[in-house]
Structure formats: structure tokens, C-alpha cells
């Protein structure tokens, strides 16, 4: 399952030095998204052409959703791509102002494998930027499309992509006083939706393991709310350890070997670390304050968390053994649900001030606070695998919650398509 994709590097038509290749400045990109043409991938047989069109459409939608690219309407296309190995007629693409052109080809082989090849062209520089072939089974066509979108994104922005990833979230239905909350998982673009629990009991706050194979979440399946684990491959749900207390706010360590969580005892909530192999717990915080919502730094050596030890919710960082605790948030209002960026430079958080909720980021020393989105309720940021985009849930007064995404620049705020109301999104790492 892990290595179902074979990647080959296509021979690149190197047309001299890459001089003026289109490059997107990701901090400016939204103001001037790069025009890109994504004609249907070629397929000799009707089934191949069908899949080719679907793949190109998924790539195009991924690129568009990032806000960094502006796909050109297909009706404007002049040249029809018929051979992946022939250079396109660049002038036909220049005249419709396509800066980048993506061409591709789908071939089904007799052994039920599918080969998807693509080339990314710099239209104005008249050169090929990238050429790759993926070999996989036909049912994996969507993942191939996301991998192609990632490759294009990487080539043109210089940043890792994030399209071949998933979202786990809580799908909500029913009236507010008897709301049903189910665990659901879908591809980053909303496809391949699956429900992982049946709604008989409430589930909250799912989080991915670094392998994306396990999900830790809060379940009310038993009397006490407790952290459960779900294995995506086997479909098995498991209660975490044999703990009589309420446990909540789980987060995996970057190596996947331990889980930070909160354990409540006689009304007092403190942060613990659980070794997932031995199931041994070590206590990281003490005292009567509410200490919760721990998340790891990408190097696994520190934990950022929230505590009301000062009198209101604020953000703190400590070492993995609980030592060297220091407060990092000092702005007006309450700060909660900190999440460390996968790049390590920023911490995203929920802020509550003047009756409004906001999603913001700050550096790990607490400086450079920026608010990116707000709402009557806006909570629970989760980072894209490349640390460029934040997803969170938002609800207007008297409405139902939905999942939203926003770029780190604060631009490109979008509703993420979910079936009905949804909350508590968590973004997986890039799939392996």
C-alpha cells in the first residue's frame, strides 16, 4: 500500500539554461495568480482519454484552490495537444496568456497498471520545466492527480506541495440540542468521503498520526469522554489505555511514538505524555490550573500548550520533560489551541477577545502576532503539510459550523466543501 506509486523522471527537453522561468512569490501570489493552462491529458483509448480529462480537472482544481494559480478557460485554447512528446506550439499558448502549460498522457497497460506522464512547460521561456511519469493502478487516479498538482506547485513556488493529503473532521447533523457528531475523513479536495463512526456517540477533536494511518480522537462511546485510536487500514477503534479518568486533547509526537494528552483528575486538568508502545504515562504539568491543548514542535523536543494559570487562557512552551515553562502570549484576550507549524517557525492559535474568535499566528517567542480570520466562533487551526495554509472551523451566530481555509498571508479565505455541517478539521501530513 505504501509504495503503490512508481515515479519515473521523463526525459526533459532541456532548452538551455532556465533563465526566466515563471516563479510565484508565495507571499505576493494571491494578488497576481499565475495563469496556467491545463488541457485534458491525452488518452488513445476512450477510457484513457476519460481518465486523462478527469486527472487534468483535479490538478486544475487543486491549483486554483491554492489561490496562487489562475486556470485559463478551456474554450480559449487554440492548440489541441495530441502528442506528449512533441513540443507545444508556444505561440498558441502565449496568445491566451498562459504562463505555464501542463500536458499529460494516460496509458492503461495490459497488466491493469496505469501510466500517467506529464510535462510542465514555461510558455514564455519555451522550455520544459518538469517531466514525470507515475505508474499505479487505475483506481489511484485521484492521488496521481494530486501528486502532479504537488509537483507543479513545487516547481513553480519552490515550496513543498500539500494536495496529496487528507482531512479528518467531525461531521455534524441534527438540531443543536441533539446534534449527532460523526468522525469523517476525506481527501484534501473533499473527494472520497468516508464516515468512521456511526453517530451513536459523540466524537470530537480527531488528529492524525505522522504516518496518517492512525487517528486519535475524543469519544463519548463509554460513559467518560476518553481518547480513542482509530486505525485506518484495519478499521479498528481502540480505547487508549485503561484509564478511569477523562482524557482529551490528544496530539501525536512527530515520530508517532508518543501522544501528548490531557488527563482530568478531580476537576483538575494536566498534560501527560503517553508512550504508545508501553502505554506508560508521564505527567508534564502540575498545579490547579487548566493545562490543555498540547502540541509538539516539529523536532519533538518542545510542547506548546494553553493554561489558565495566569487567570486566563494563555500560551506556554515547555520542554518535552515538562521543564523550562515559559509564557509566550501577552496580547489582550484569551489564547487557546496552539499548533506548531510543520516548518517550526510559527504557532497558530485561537484567540478570544471582545466576544469574537480569531485564528492567528505568532512566532514561537510570541512576537509578530497576526490574525488571519475571525467569526462569532472561529477555532482550532490545523496546518497544511507545507505550513502555508490553515484550516479551521467557523460558525456564525445561530448558524451551523463549517470548515474554512485561509492562506498564511490572510488571503484566499475559502469554505471547504463538506457534506453538511462540520467542525474540528485536522490536516494529515503528505501521504506516503
Amino acid at each position: 500500500m505504501k509504495r503503490f506509486l512508481t515515479v519515473l523522471i521523463l526525459t526533459v527537453f532541456a532548452a538551455g539554461a532556465a533563465a526566466a522561468q515563471p516563479v510565484i512569490d508565495i507571499n505576493q501570489g494571491h494578488l497576481n495568480p499565475l495563469p496556467v493552462a491545463t488541457p485534458p491529458f491525452i488518452g488513445a483509448a476512450p477510457a484513457e482519454a476519460q481518465t486523462g480529462a478527469e486527472i487534468a480537472a483535479v490538478v486544475e482544481a487543486d491549483l486554483e484552490r491554492s489561490g496562487l494559480f489562475r486556470p485559463i478557460n478551456h474554450t480559449a485554447f487554440i492548440e489541441q495537444i495530441t502528442d506528449l512528446d512533441l513540443k507545444p506550439r508556444f505561440e498558441d499558448w502565449r496568445v491566451i496568456n498562459a504562463n505555464a502549460l501542463l500536458t499529460g498522457d494516460v496509458e492503461m497497460s495490459s497488466d491493469a497498471r496505469m501510466r500517467v506522464s506529464f510535462r510542465l512547460w514555461d510558455v514564455f521561456g519555451e522550455q520544459e520545466l518538469l517531466g514525470l511519469t507515475f505508474v499505479t493502478t487505475p483506481e489511484n487516479w485521484r492521488r496521481v492527480a494530486h501528486k502532479i498538482a504537488d509537483a507543479v506547485y513545487e516547481e513553480l513556488t519552490g515550496e513543498m506541495g500539500y494536495f496529496d493529503s487528507r482531512i479528518v473532521f467531525v461531521s455534524e447533523s441534527g438540531p443543536r440540542l441533539s446534534r449527532s457528531k460523526r468522525l469523517a475523513i476525506m481527501d484534501q479536495d473533499g473527494a472520497n468521503l468516508r464516515f468512521l463512526t456511526n453517530g451513536d456517540y459523540t466524537v470530537l477533536t480527531p488528529r492524525f498520526s505522522p504516518s496518517s494511518q492512525t487517528i486519535a480522537y475524543l469519544s463519548y462511546q463509554n460513559t467518560k469522554p476518553q481518547v480513542h485510536l482509530f486505525d485506518i487500514e484495519t478499521g479498528r477503534h481502540e480505547m487508549l489505555g485503561n484509564i478511569p479518568n477523562m482524557t482529551f486533547a490528544p496530539r501525536f509526537s512527530p515520530d508517532g511514538n508518543s501522544l501528548a494528552l490531557t488527563l482530568e483528575d478531580s476537576g483538575n486538568s494536566d498534560i501527560y505524555l503517553m508512550d504508545l508502545r508501553s502505554r506508560q504515562m508521564s505527567r508534564l504539568t502540575t498545579g490547579s490550573a487548566i493545562d490543555t491543548s498540547p502540541t509538539f514542535s516539529p523536532d519533538g523536543r518542545q510542547i506548546v500548550f494553553e493554561s489558565d494559570r495566569s487567570g486566563s487562557q494563555q500560551l506556554y512552551i515547555m520542554n518535552i520533560d515538562g521543564s523550562d515553562v515559559r509564557r509566550i502570549s501577552f496580547g489582550s484576550g484569551r489564547y487557546a489551541t496552539p499548533v506548531w507549524s510543520p516548518r517550526g517557525d510559527l504557532i497558530a492559535f485561537t484567540k478570544i477577545a471582545s466576544g469574537r474568535f480569531s485564528i492567528g499566528v505568532m512566532r514561537q517567542d510570541g512576537s509578530g502576532e497576526r490574525l488571519l480570520a475571525d467569526g462569532f466562533r472561529a477555532e482550532g487551526p490545523t496546518w497544511s503539510p507545507n505550513g502555508r495554509v490553515l484550516m479551521f472551523w467557523r460558525e456564525e451566530r445561530g448558524s451551523t459550523p463549517g470548515v474554512w481555509s485561509v492562506d498564511l498571508t490572510g488571503q484566499n479565505l475559502r469554505r471547504v466543501e463538506t457534506p453538511g455541517a462540520a467542525s474540528d478539521p485536522a490536516w494529515s501530513p503528505l501521504l506516503q
Binding site: P175, T223, F248, G267, I290, A336, T337, G380, D424
Partner: protein, 176 residues
Amino acid sequence: MTCLQGIAMKFKVVLVAMSVLAVAACASDEPVVENTPPAATPTPPPQRVTAVPGSVEDFQETAGDRVFFDYDQFDLRSDARATLDRQASWLSQYGNVTVRIHGNADERGTREYNLALAARRANSARDYLVSRGVAASRIETISNGEEQPVCSASTEECWALNRNATTVIVAGAVTS
């Protein structure tokens, strides 16, 4: 015929408010004479059904099963202590009863914080009952966080109701 009488003839039942309007509309000085509407048979006041002593309903009626908290607080207000005093006295009378106290929070905090805050509220109520002589072994607590609102609007009134600790009888009550 005054215009008011004309109206009165058209409509068999004339509401007082309506006739006042009609008078104003007619601007007539003539005294208005009307028959007093026949007295209706009084509906009997709701019969107060006394709950079976020792039942869940009895607990809810005589003690009250819910105490309320201020925003982001978990200390017991005086009205909460009065209710818990009644709960403790009821529970001392029915020594076989075991209870579960559900802590609840309104929607104005973050979800995980609300789980912790609601746990504090349930525990405040539990500690108070224990201090009033209820055996700790008879009480368990659970935090619902903000997940079990009893009032659905996003208003100050609903939030006040949703910040509570609710004592639910688990076992030992008399069947009503």
C-alpha cells in the same frame, strides 16, 4: 345607529380593545353600552401531581437537579449552594441512590478548554455534596464540555442556562 353599534352588530364578539379603537375612529360622544360577555367556565388550575417520594421526579421537584455558573467560572453561587443543600438532604434520605453529575459549558470557550471547565463545575458540585455528608462513592462526575446544551440560541439567556452542573440519578431511585 351609531357607527359603533353598526360594528357591534356585524361582529358578535367585540373585544374591548377593538371597541376602544372603534370609538376613537367614530369620535362619537355617545355612551357605549354593551353586554358583558358570558363568563367562561374557569379551567381548573393545573393539578399539582406529587411525585412518588424517592423517585427521580421527586428529586427534581423537591431538590432541583441543576445548578448554574457564571461565565468562565466554576465556584458555586449562593443559589447553587441552596440547591445542592436540598440535593444533599434528599440524598441522605434515600441512601441507595447514586448519582452522576454532568458538568456543562456554554459555547463561548474553545472546545477543549470547555471540557476542562465543565469538569471543574461537575467537581465543584460533587465536592459540595461530599462536604454536606454525601458519600463520595455515591457520586461520579462527567464533563460534557459544551456538547450538551439545554438551550439552543446564542444568547446571554441560553448561555446562562447552558453553564451548569446537572445531577442525574444513576440507580437506587424509587420507581414512579
